[in-house]
Amino acid sequence: MNTEKKITPYSSWFLSRPKTSGILVFLFIFAILDLAVMLRYQVLKKSETNEMTIALNIVEQNIEQSLKNSYATTIGLALTIDDNGEPKNFQAVGRQLLNSNNFIDAVQLVPNGVIKYTYPMTGNEAATNFNILKSPVHRGAALKAIASKKMYYVGPVELKQGGLGIVGRLPVYKKDKFWGFSAVIIKFSRFVKSTGIETFHNQNFYFQFSKRNIETQKEEFFLPGPQDFKSKLYKSVSIPEGDWKLYVIRKNDLQIIKSLTPIFLLAMLMASICGVFVISFLKRPSQLQNQVKIQTDKLLKNELFFKSIFEHAGLGITHTNSIKGNFIDANDKFCELIGYTQEEIKKITFMMITHPDDLDADLKKMELLKEGKLGGFSLEKRYFHKKGTIIWVNITVTPLWEKDEMPNTHMTIVEDITKRKEYEFALVNSQNNIESLINTIDGIVWEGYPDKPGVTFISKKSEAILGYKSEEWLENEDFWYNHMHPEDRDWVTAQTSEYSKKRTPHVLEYRMIDKSGNTVWLQDIVSIFVENDNSIKFRGILIDITQNKQFELELNNTLNLVTQQNKRLLDFSYIVSHNLRSHTSNIQSLATLIEESDDETEKTELLALLKSVSDTLHKTMDNLNEVVSIQTQVNPVIESLELQPVISKTLEILSNQIKSSKAKIINNVPGSVTVNYNPAYLDSVILNFILNAVRYHHPERNPVIELNSYEEKEYIVLEIKDNGIGIDLKKNGKKLFGMYKTFTNNPESKGIGLFISKNQIDTMQGKVTVESEINVGTTFKIYFKK
């Protein structure tokens, strides 16, 4: 525990400084690895130095071996010299020596410093008789050999016989007297080869071979390769036999470093990775720590924020126990709203201050909230102020428990809507007033849009006028069209759309069918309102004008009746003025003439005329009587009569006329056709029309009379078609059915038949029409009311 505690501050120091820690780790690992590299470097360096030393030793030994062989050779050569100072068997000995020592190029005997004997001679002729003691190059070395009495090597020098070479000279004494030199000549290239230097040519070092110039005291180098190596690592041995110095020199110091660079880089990389890893590893907790800090700050700020909202909000906010309903906390606004102090509020529940009429709805929603079926709710309800007044509020309840938690508390935001409610009530009141006003209007008030089917408003009078409730009308988009009289639908919709296009107010009168199937005449007074967006709205009132229409209809009927009566009266006045007066005036005139006449014959003649006039008058009176009796008969006897027997009877009556005029009768009337008619009228009507058809036949052809029967609306029609002379309807159409109106010179034409028939037909509520073309024929259509 104790250590842990001690460690914790350090670790937290590191933990809170990931970068620093990372760098430290990097440095640490890098240092360790560097040390390893350094050691490795040392080892490599040492082994290289060892290698160089070994190589140097090998080469030195080789040289010494060569020099020893040379020495032995010169000794051997010197032995050829006899006591007289003359060499014996020089050639043979020379050959032998050269054969056993193949690195020696030539052997010489130089008595008194002058080259006299050379083997082989070939190639070395130039050196014969050369006095070395007089040569500046060889003199020094020769003297040194004489002085030291040891073999001494000169060179490498430019040889007389050409090429670079070394010459080893052994001073020979004969009887303690200097005789000369026994010498070996070795070509420098061969000498180098014998040293074995070449076997090391691949190594990281090279050899150099030098000799101090006796005269200049300067060191001269003879092997290829840099001579300026004093700054580099090298080792050397001195070879006194020739005052030579052999060096072994490391070619490149950097070689080891180079070979160590990858390891060094690897070390660096590893250290870096470790550092970065440590940084990232340590950074995470520190980031988390930062985050926690930021969050904590935020939370603190939020808490402050919410606290200030809670306390200074324009809305009441409460924190309530969802189970018991008691207030846990409430802001000042809420307290102010309901008139309790903070302390008092915490002692009451929301149920206590909620209007009892609203409590059920509130509790139901709370229950749903607690069951998790609601994620929150809003509600308009009433609170009681402490003083007892009612406050309208809109509450918004939000649960403060998590989904998987048990319900605990909730937050309620309370908005005072008392003012708004007052306005609303006032508005509803005034709307109700207007509506009740509209509903008292004695007509169906409606409202609608031209582009929308159906109506948006229908006043309650709909039920009184059409038997349909306003709702029934409003529910059905096509109510208006469907309940309009089928005969009015097309023209009314056409007119309405035209008016709406022109945007003109209009008044239409049409029929609708009420709930019990009766026709109701309505006057639709439509106003057009242009809305702000230039669209239009219809407002109209449908007034029940059924009664007016009925009056109008009755009036029209009465007018028609009166007009007809008038016409008959006029006809009557004609009959009276023309037919009766013409006879009476004739009687008057005849009476005067009789009175004034003196001639008895004339008197008798005039009296006869008078009688004929009175007969005609009588006949006319009879006809008039008949017409009057038809017209005054209010309820003539009506029976169901078959047409066919009546037609047959008529044809029988007219058989003589038909035969004499050669008329052909085509009777297409079905046997089953029956009409409700007065029997006498029916006989008279059919007789008159058929007789007419026969009578007015065309003089140039035989009459053909066709009888047809069919139904047309509320009538049964009897059609009588002939091919007679025809009637100029343009001229005589009006006169056709008048009394005593004739327009032919036919003596049988009395102008009474059609007049009576027309009267009879009119009385039976039928009608008669005529189509005719002169010289082609005439068709009469007699309409019998069903």
């Binding site: 006045s573 004609y574 003025s577 023309h578 037919n579 007066r581 013409s582 005036s585 004739n586 008057q588 005139s589 005849l590 005067t592 003439l593 004034e596 005329l609 004929s612 006039v613 001229k731 005593y740 004739t742 327009f743 032919t744 010179n745 034409s749 102008g751």
Partner: protein, 126 residues
């Protein structure tokens, strides 16, 4: 004073007979013609190229009535350089007929039946 010629157009034979007797007895006219139909009268006037001075015209006639006759006659009259007096003689006392008659410029008067010497004398002196 030369006597005028007179013409009766009426479909009533008894009236024609009576009027003929009155005219004969009156001695007011030099010549008397009678037609029972407008067609016959027009046909005669056209063929003979002569028109009487005075025409007594009935309205109610079959085939061609008085009005139809007047429509054609007023045209025909223009070809005769002569003053012709036309009187409507009708049993009608209907106001409409009298009014209608007054719309024809070539009509001198509307006289209700019965015709008598007094009325005839007035006509002759017109």
């Amino acid at each position: 004073m030369t006597l005028k010629t007179i013409c009766i157009i009426d479909d009533d034979p008894i009236y024609q007979l009576i009027t003929k007797k009155i005219i004969e007895k009156s001695h007011l006219f030099s010549q008397r013609q009678s037609f029972t139909d407008g067609f016959d009268a027009l046909h005669f006037f056209r063929e003979e190229k002569s028109i009487p001075d005075i025409i007594l015209l009935d309205i109610e006639m079959p085939a061609m009535d008085g009005w139809d006759f007047l429509d054609e006659f007023c045209e025909l009259k223009k070809s005769f350089d002569k003053k012709i007096y036309i009187y409507i003689i009708s049993s009608s006392i209907a106001k409409e007929d009298i009014e209608k008659a007054s719309t024809y410029g070539c009509i001198c008067g509307f006289i209700s039946k019965p015709i008598n010497l007094e009325k005839l004398t007035k006509i002759a002196n017109s």
